[in-house]
């Protein structure tokens, strides 16, 4: 069952810019320019792109905040533009930069309010709260005012708040922003459980590509309001023409070595960096180096997804 369906969705904004002393010019900006995609129930999708690409406009349309200028949009069986309140009961939203918790009140109070506002049946509320408290380690924090929580604790609190009403879709906008390594890991572990065990569909925007690598089986890259890539991470690597790096330590300093199928990109004393296409196996390259040179040690580095995406943006800009 498709939980999110977009059919040629567009969204334009009218910007009034000063032109001359009193005159103002109206200009149309196309923030989202013909998006068509579907997300099936239980998918975990990374939705990434540079600033101003149309990510947050898309999220605002999917959550019912903004109405599309044109096109068809359905989320969990409702039209977000027409049924905002009905939609709100079916989705969970977490904004990494803004908390929806009550700053001056204990964490528990925010959950109690959600119970009433979302009309959550008692048994569901108790089951969901218990599960979140256990998985997110919130037990000791429930009676602490939110203003006294650390950023990581608050984010965990926000995640629980977004899931108490059994949402079908969970939107996460930068859920790990500003968190330390341990908190990031906790958040990711929890999201993986929510997605796998409950089958909750997750749509995630992030600038931290580790989030995507660890959580998402599908990545959509958006730029200038259009989807420029939609597929698995491997496909993204292939599309971005990426290269893996073989780092070799030789017995002594050498001029750049010559190996078929790879080229030296950097030399530092006995250590040399060789780049080769990421679709190719590393084995023949390693064998070739070992056969010709005194090899002491080696390691293979996967391409950083940042680079892949940066290259992809550059191509889009040129194309």
């Amino acid at each position: 069952m498709a939980l999110i369906e977009l059919d040629d969705v567009r969204r334009t904004f009218t910007v009034r810019a000063k032109a001359g002393r009193l005159r103002r010019e109206k200009r149309e900006v196309r923030a989202v320019d013909g998006l068509t995609f579907t997300v099936e129930a239980g998918e975990c999708v990374g939705y990434i792109g540079p600033n101003g690409a149309g990510k947050s406009t898309t999220i605002k349309m999917l959550t019912g905040i903004l109405v599309p200028t044109a096109g068809r949009l359905r989320v969990a069986g409702v039209d977000p533009a027409r049924e905002r309140v009905a939609l709100a009961r079916r989705i969970g939203v977490v904004f990494g930069q803004r908390t929806t918790l009550w700053w001056d009140l204990p964490l528990r109070d925010s959950y109690e309010l959600a119970r009433r506002l979302y009309r959550i049946p008692d048994h569901r509320y108790r089951a969901n709260l218990d599960r979140c408290v256990e998985l997110l380690d919130l037990g000791a924090l429930l009676d602490t005012p939110v203003r006294q929580l650390s950023l990581g604790q608050r984010m965990r609190g926000d995640l629980a708040a977004a899931l108490l009403h059994d949402p079908r879709v969970l939107y996460l906008d930068e859920p790990t922003i500003g968190l330390d390594v341990v908190s990031k890991a906790k958040v990711r572990d929890f999201l993986r459980e929510v997605n796998r065990d409950l089958g909750t569909t997750v749509l995630l925007t992030t600038h931290d590509l580790t989030d995507i690598e660890q959580l998402c089986d599908r990545v959509m890259v958006i730029d200038h309001g259009r989807v420029v890539h939609d597929g698995g991470l491997e496909a993204l690597h292939a599309a971005g023409d990426s290269e893996r790096t073989l780092v070799v330590d030789l017995a002594g300093s050498h001029p750049p070595i010559e190996v078929p199928g790879a080229r030296v990109v950097r030399v530092e004393g006995p250590r040399q960096w060789l780049a080769f296409p990421s679709q190719e196996s590393a084995a023949p390259v390693v064998a070739a180096v070992a056969a010709r040179y005194p090899l002491v040690d080696l390691s293979v580095r996967e391409p950083a997804i940042e680079d892949v995406i940066a290259r992809m943006y550059a191509e889009v800009a040129i194309g």
Binding site: T63, I65, F95, W102, L105, D166, G199
Partner: protein, 290 residues
Amino acid sequence: MADQAVVTRAPLPAVTRESPAARVAWAVRSWWLAAAMWTRAIMSYRASFVMMLCANVVVTFLDFVVVILMFRHTDTLGGWTLPELGFLYGTSALALGLANLFVGSVDALGERIRTGTLDIMLVRPAPALAQLCAERFSLRRLGRPAQAAAVLLWSLTALDVHWTWDRVLLLPVLVVCGTLIFAAVFIGFASLQFWWGEAKEIQNSFTYGGATVLQYPPTVFAKELVAGTVFGIPLAFVNWLPALRILDRPDPLGLPTAFQYASPLAAALALAVAGLAWRAGLRAYRGAGG
């Protein structure tokens, strides 16, 4: 895994078109839930709450002292006595105070838009207007209506009203309709902030400014201004027109007596216009066109 997902979930809530009455009831309940949360949040700073409440009572008390001082130099103002002025002051300030208590926070709409709080309200299953009106709700705003009620009660004991049944009935109607009219003015003008962030000042001049005008007899103002409060922004229906009936005074505009009973109608109209303005504003914000 799909089977498991079905077991561990509540069924999808049905999309039902709720009746208008049910929607209003839900809006009131949402307001109530949020207001209760804000009350408890503000009570977590008890000392600050007590100090602000005291400051509020002192400031509003001084407000009426100014009127009393004025009457040390004159016996009447525009032909009206001090107790009559007390009646106007009490009804106007009570209506404004109650409206401010319930919906006054709507005036921060522009700021809620800038900080993104409005977006958070829009992803909750409650009317955004109800959430906005309850935002930062504080019981310390009770200070003003309490002082106004005290002045009103004093004026009623000092006045020599010929109480007929219609006058007795008119008094509570006046307080309720006056509150609704001010609430409509708050919401209607706050809605302008969807288009124009600076509109808060216009709203202030009609709410707080309007309430100050209503504290004085209509006879001291130009007829054009009084006419504007009857046929334009319907502030005259808050207290001026019903007060003419209760205090048995002639209408400076010479309007039919029916106007003195028409506050419920004026309140209904004002609320309808304010509701339309809010809806149009929210539509523009969400970009729903039209």
